[in-house]
Symmetry: C7
Subunit: 89 residues, 7 copies
């Protein structure tokens, strides 16, 4: 079974809050409202969205954006396109 | 007699709150604002909606979304398309 | 003299609050925000509305939706299309 | 001199609050938010409005809708089309 | 030098508050929210507006609508089209 | 270096608050919410805006409209088109 | 790895708050709500945006606009097009 987001939504696996990436992004967890980072697990059926975002993309989004969901031991977020600030490429 | 949702609304039979599915989705009821899961019982006449959602689909939606209704001993929710976060497929 | 709703409005005769229908719909009056049921007495001139709703249809709507009106000893509600959640068919 | 409403507005002469019509409409003044009744004295230049409402029509509108105006000893209301709930025909 | 309103705005010279016109309009100043009356001094460049309102028109508008301006000893109001309830013709 | 407003914005040099113009505009500073006056220093790239407002125009705008900016010893305001009430011509 | 803003967003490197430019812009940090200045590091995929703003442009934006992000020791802001007040050219 797969979680398929609708319309302009994406399913995201959030990065751990304390994480430091190889390329050096540090998103201090103490800061309020700083964007967070996650990996796209599934993309909704909206065509504009599908041109911008693919499965596997690493994206940044607002700290309080989206709805949380637990599935098979993994924590997900379901975000709308408008919640996505940037992608890392 | 049948409950036929209008426009972009769907009629949903919510899953029990304590439920654990075979595939392992656990939606802890203690968490605030976590999405809930239900089975679509009827789909409104909106064409875009009907392409995305069919009777029998299992969908996720916000915890406080929709209007409750009791019918023949079954509890239903009437959701708008915008309340649907994802479907499980 | 007849009450003719305008645009996308319908004139509805609400079902009694304590009513139990033959088909078994029970809408407990103690519950907050549960939808209520009524019979359509007249339909506005909006064409989309007229395809969806006919005089005589039984519809469900939000508990606090619409404007009340007394006429010839009958209590009515005037609802907008957006207030209608579903019809029973 | 004539009062000519603009756009989608109508000029209305409200019925007296205590009035009982021959056809039996009673709009109890003690009820809050019940619609009120008036006779259309002039119609704005909006074409959609002019198809729906004519001078002389008796209409129902929300109790607190519109702007009051006194003219030649008559009390008027200036309503927008959206304030009109139904017409009596 | 001339004050030229932009877009859908009109420049209005408000009538004195205590005024009684020859035709008998009395707008009692004690009433709250009653519309007021003024003479149009200039009309914005919006084409729809220019079909409805000409320089010299006497219009009615909400008591608290518009922005006040003093110019050469005259008090003006700058109103938007939506603030105009009716014109007297 | 030049400040170039974007879209439908204009860069304005506000007139001194105590100023009395040769043509006699007095905008008493004690009055609340009275419009203020300024000279347009630059116009955004929006085409509709550029037809209405040119560099050098004297415009009126709401007292609390816009964002302030200091540049080379001059105080500016950056206004949106909707903040402009009228121009003096 | 590169931060690529989505849609109508831009990635900006804010100027230091105490800075005085060669051309003399002083944006006193004590003033409330004064616009701030930054250099565009990346532009979203929106075509209208890309005509107005290029990488390297110096732009002004509201003091509280945007989302902060730290990357490789640099502080960034992610702004929407509507947050950009002007560019310096």
């Amino acid at each position: 079974m797969k979680i398929q987001p609708l319309d302009d939504r994406v399913l995201v696996i959030p990065a751990g809050e304390e994480e430091t990436t190889a390329s050096g992004i540090i998103i201090p967890d103490t800061a309020k409202e700083k964007p967070r980072r996650g990996t796209v697990a599934a993309v909704g059926n909206d065509e504009d969205l599908q041109e911008l975002i693919k499965e596997g993309d690493v994206i940044l989004y607002g700290k309080y954006a989206g709805d949380e969901l637990s599935y098979d031991g993994t924590d997900y977020l379901i975000l709308s396109q408008g919640d996505i600030l940037a992608k890392l490429s």
